[in-house]
C-alpha cells in the first residue's frame, strides 16, 4: 500500500492548518457562510438536515488496519459510535462539531488520511476496484495509476473551482466493480497487443436527474500520456462546461450537448497542445517508486485446496452459505477474498460501529496482510485471507454481526441517506431498505432469487444509484406524501445501463409488495441459470408491467 513520504505528510498537515484558519475566520465572522461553503466543502464538510457531516476519503478503497482503527476511534470520539461507508469509497460521520473538525483532521493525518476533495466542485476522491491486486486477470494493479491521479488532482490549481463536482474511477479487470461508466471519467487499465499498458478512457457518465452511461473517448491512451490526456479533458470541461445551471453543469451534459464526436475532437486538439511540452509525463523512476508500494504482499506458497476449509464447510451449514455468497477466488493459490457485508437483515446499509471497525482492523492485521478494502456497494473486503484461516475469520465476524451471507443478493442493497438525514429528500430510503431486507430475510429464498441489485434514492439526485439498480427505487413527492417509483434493468458493471421506469409510482404501503411482484415475475419466467437482469434483458418490461399494474 502507498505510504506517505515527507512531502505528502507536510502537504496534508498544511491543509489541516489552512482549514483550521478558515474555521476560525468563519467563527469570527470574517468569512460569511456563503464564502465559507466552498472551503468547507473542499475539506469534506457538508451541512445536513441536522448537523455538519464530514466525509473522509479512502483513496481507491484501500485501508491499512491502523487506518481502520483510526476510523473506529473517530466514530467513538467525535461521533455517536458509528460511521457510514458511502458509494464512493468514503466514510461519513454524521455528527461531528464544526469546531472539533480540525482536531479530527489532525488525528486522521497521523495515519495518512484526510478529507481533501471529498466534496466541492473539484476532482473528487479517486475510486477503484475493491479486488485490486487480489483478483486474477488484471492488466496491472489499478491502484498504481489511481495513486498517480490522486496526487496529480490534489490541490490542482486549475481545476479546483470547476462548474461541478468531478469523479474519476479506475478498473483493470473485465468485470467492472467500480462503476466506471457512471463516472465523469472512467478508466480501464489494459494491455495492447504489444504488451504495453495503457488506458481506455470513458467520459461523461453520471447519474443525478439526467443519467448517462459514459462514452468511450479514447481506446488506448499510452501510459506516459495519461495525465496530459486527463488535463485535456478537464480543460475542455472547465472552459466549456455550463455554469448557469447546476443541474446542467456536469461534464455528461457537455458531452451530450456537444456530441460525442465533437467532444472527442476538442479533447484531442487540447491533448495535442498539452502533450507537446511533455510536462505531464511522469518520470519512470516515480512510477516505479509508486508501483513498488503495490507489489503483491508476501504470499506463502500453498496448495490450491485447503482440507480445513472444505471440512469446515461440511461441518457448518452457515459457514458454507457464507463461503458461497461472500468468498471469492483469489489469484494466489491457497488464498481467498472475503467480503464483509454491511447489510445485516434489517440494518442500515453501509453503517458500521466503532467496535465492528476495530474487529475488522484486527482481522485485517492478523489474517489479511494488513489490508481492508471498501466497495462502492457499501461493503468491506478482506482481500488476502488464507483458505485455512477463512473459518476463523468468519467466526470472529459472526460474533459481531458481520457475517451476513448476502453479497450480491436482494438484501445487499444500496440506499442513500434519504429523508432521515437529507434536506433534499422526497422520501425515506433507509427504512424502505430495511423493510425490503426483512421481507426477503430468508437466505434460502435469497439464494434461489440469485444476483439481484436493488438501489434506492430518496430523490432524483440519485445518490443511491437507483438508475443503475437491476431494480431501482426512487422516492418521489406527491402533495407531501412519500411515493416510490420503480425502474428495471439498470446495471453499473461493464454492461452499464440506465433502468426503465415501470410506470405509476407506489405508495409507502404498496412498494414492498410491488417489489415482491417484480421478483416473483422473474422467478416464474426465468430460464435455467438466468439472473434477474438476464431475464429482464430477454423479455423486456412488458411482463413485469402487466403483473404490476393489471
Amino acid at each position: 500500500m502507498y505510504r506517505y513520504d515527507e512531502f505528502d505528510h507536510k502537504l496534508v498537515a498544511d491543509r489541516v492548518n489552512q482549514f483550521r484558519g478558515q474555521v476560525e475566520r468563519r467563527v469570527s465572522g470574517a468569512l460569511s457562510e456563503d464564502q465559507f461553503k466552498p472551503l468547507r466543502l473542499m475539506n469534506g464538510v457538508y451541512l445536513q438536515l441536522h448537523a455538519y457531516m464530514l466525509r473522509v476519503a479512502i483513496p481507491y478503497g484501500t485501508l491499512r488496519s491502523e487506518q481502520m482503527q483510526m476510523l473506529a476511534h473517530i466514530a467513538r470520539k467525535y461521533d455517536r459510535g458509528y460511521g457510514h461507508f458511502t458509494t464512493r469509497q468514503n466514510i461519513q460521520y454524521n455528527w461531528p462539531a464544526l469546531d472539533k473538525i480540525p482536531d479530527l483532521l489532525d488525528e486522521l493525518a497521523c495515519v495518512e488520511m484526510h478529507a481533501i476533495q471529498t466534496s466541492g466542485n473539484c476532482i473528487r476522491n479517486v475510486t477503484s476496484d475493491q479486488y485490486a491486486g487480489a483478483i486474477e486477470g488484471e492488466a496491472e494493479d489499478p491502484r498504481i495509476v489511481s495513486e498517480i491521479i490522486r496526487q496529480w488532482s490534489t490541490f490542482h490549481p486549475e481545476f479546483t473551482y470547476l462548474p461541478r463536482k468531478f469523479k474519476i474511477a479506475v478498473t483493470a479487470h473485465k468485470n467492472d466493480r467500480a462503476a466506471i461508466k457512471l463516472h465523469d471519467i472512467g478508466i480501464v487499465v489494459k494491455q495492447n497487443d504489444a504488451g504495453e499498458i495503457g488506458y481506455e478512457v470513458h467520459v461523461g457518465g453520471g447519474q443525478g436527474r439526467t443519467p448517462f452511461v459514459a462514452k468511450k473517448m479514447n481506446d488506448f491512451v499510452p501510459k506516459a500520456k495519461l495525465l496530459a490526456y486527463l488535463e485535456a479533458v478537464m480543460r475542455v470541461y472547465n472552459m466549456l462546461g455550463r455554469r448557469d445551471n447546476s443541474y446542467k453543469a456536469r461534464i455528461k451534459i457537455l458531452v451530450h450537448e456537444t456530441g460525442e464526436e465533437e467532444m472527442r475532437r476538442m479533447v484531442e486538439e487540447e491533448f495535442a497542445k498539452i502533450d507537446a511540452s511533455e510536462m505531464l509525463t511522469v518520470p519512470q523512476t516515480e512510477i516505479d517508486r509508486i508501483s513498488a508500494y503495490f507489489a503483491p504482499p508476501a504470499f506463502e506458497t500453498l496448495p490450491a485446496d485447503s482440507q480445513a476449509f472444505t471440512q469446515a464447510q461440511a461441518d457448518d451449514a452457515d459457514f458454507a452459505r457464507f463461503v458461497r455468497a461472500n468468498v471469492v477466488a483469489h489469484k494466489q493459490d491457497g488464498y481467498a477474498i472475503v467480503n464483509i457485508s454491511l447489510k445485516p437483515i434489517g440494518g442500515v446499509p453501509g453503517d458500521a460501529t466503532d467496535a465492528q471497525m476495530d474487529v475488522i482492523a484486527d482481522l485485517a492485521e492478523r489474517f489479511s496482510h494488513d489490508e481492508v478494502r471498501v466497495t462502492h456497494e457499501q461493503n468491506l473486503v478482506l482481500p488476502h485471507v488464507k483458505l485455512d484461516d477463512v473459518k476463523t475469520v468468519y467466526d470472529a465476524l459472526a460474533a459481531h454481526d458481520l457475517a451476513t451471507a448476502n453479497l450480491g443478493l436482494i438484501s445487499d442493497q444500496i440506499a442513500c441517506p434519504g429523508l432521515d438525514y437529507c434536506n433534499l429528500a422526497n422520501a425515506r430510503s433507509i427504512p424502505l431498505a430495511q423493510e425490503i431486507s426483512e421481507r426477503f430475510s430468508d437466505l434460502d429464498r435469497q439464494y434461489d432469487i440469485g444476483e439481484l441489485k436493488i438501489k434506492i434514492s430518496g430523490c432524483i439526485n440519485a445518490c443511491g444509484h437507483h438508475h443503475v439498480g437491476h431494480i431501482g427505487i426512487l422516492g418521489v413527492d406527491k402533495k407531501g406524501t412519500e411515493f416510490y417509483q420503480i425502474s428495471l434493468g439498470g446495471a453499473a458493471d461493464e454492461n452499464a445501463a440506465i433502468g426503465q421506469i415501470t410506470g405509476r409510482a407506489f405508495t409507502e404501503e404498496d412498494i414492498v409488495d410491488a417489489i415482491e411482484t417484480v421478483v416473483t415475475t422473474y422467478t416464474d419466467l426465468r430460464a435455467d441459470g438466468e439472473r434477474f437482469i438476464d431475464t429482464y434483458n430477454r423479455l423486456g418490461m412488458a411482463p413485469f408491467k402487466e403483473r404490476l399494474y393489471d
Binding site: 466552498p38 496526487q151 490549481p157 479546483t160 480543460r235 472547465n238
Partner: protein, 172 residues
C-alpha cells in the same frame, strides 16, 4: 484612486492603468479595453505608442454565456502589455484555464491580472496558474496576501509557475 489594493509580483504597486469604457476616447495613458474593441479597432490601436491591455470578461454577456474565449486573443498577444481576467464569482474557476493557456500556450509574458471576486483562498491557485497581478479589497494588506500564498508548502503537479510538482521532483 482605485477602490482596490493592487499587488504585482508579490509587492504593493501603484495603479498605472485605466479601464476604458467602449465609448470612451482612447488617451495616451495605458488603457485596458474590451475584447470587442480590441477586435474592432486593432489597426488603429497598432498605430499608438501608449501601451494597452484587454479585459477578458465573464459576465454581462447573456445568461448562458460562459464568458469570452481566451483563444480569441491569439492574434493580438504580442501587442498586449496586460491581460485582465474577470472572475465574476470566486467559485467560477473558468479563468484559471484562461490564465494557463495565456502563459503556457501563448507564452504571454506581460501582466496577467485577476479582477472581480478575487478572495483570500483563491490567490495561491491563481498565482500557480500564472496570474501575477491581483486587485485585492482595499482593506487587505500585503502580509495577508503573502500568508495566503504560503499556506500550502508544495504542489504535486506542474502548472504555470516554477514549481514542477512532487510527482516530477521526486523522480529527479
Amino acid at each position: 484612486m482605485t477602490d482596490y489594493h493592487l499587488v504585482i509580483d508579490g509587492a504593493t504597486a501603484e495603479e498605472s492603468w485605466t479601464y476604458l469604457d467602449d465609448d470612451a476616447a482612447l488617451s495616451d495613458a495605458p488603457s485596458i479595453i474590451s475584447l470587442t474593441r480590441l477586435k474592432d479597432e486593432a489597426d488603429a490601436l497598432a498605430e499608438r505608442s501608449a501601451p494597452f491591455g484587454v479585459i477578458l470578461r465573464a459576465d454581462g454577456l447573456g445568461k448562458t454565456d460562459l464568458g469570452e474565449d481566451v483563444r480569441e486573443l491569439a492574434p493580438f498577444i504580442d501587442r498586449l502589455a496586460l491581460i485582465a481576467i474577470h472572475f465574476p464569482a470566486y467559485r467560477n474557476g473558468r479563468g484559471y484555464s484562461a490564465a494557463r493557456v495565456l502563459r503556457e500556450e501563448f507564452n504571454f509574458t506581460g501582466q496577467l491580472r485577476a479582477t472581480g471576486d478575487v478572495l483570500y483562498d483563491q490567490w495561491a491557485m491563481m498565482n500557480r496558474c500564472g496570474i501575477n497581478a491581483f486587485e485585492l479589497a482595499a482593506n487587505i494588506d500585503l502580509a495577508t496576501f503573502q500568508t495566503a500564498l504560503g499556506e500550502l508548502s508544495g504542489a504535486y503537479q506542474p502548472a504555470a509557475d516554477q514549481n514542477r510538482g512532487a510527482l516530477w521532483a521526486r523522480g529527479k
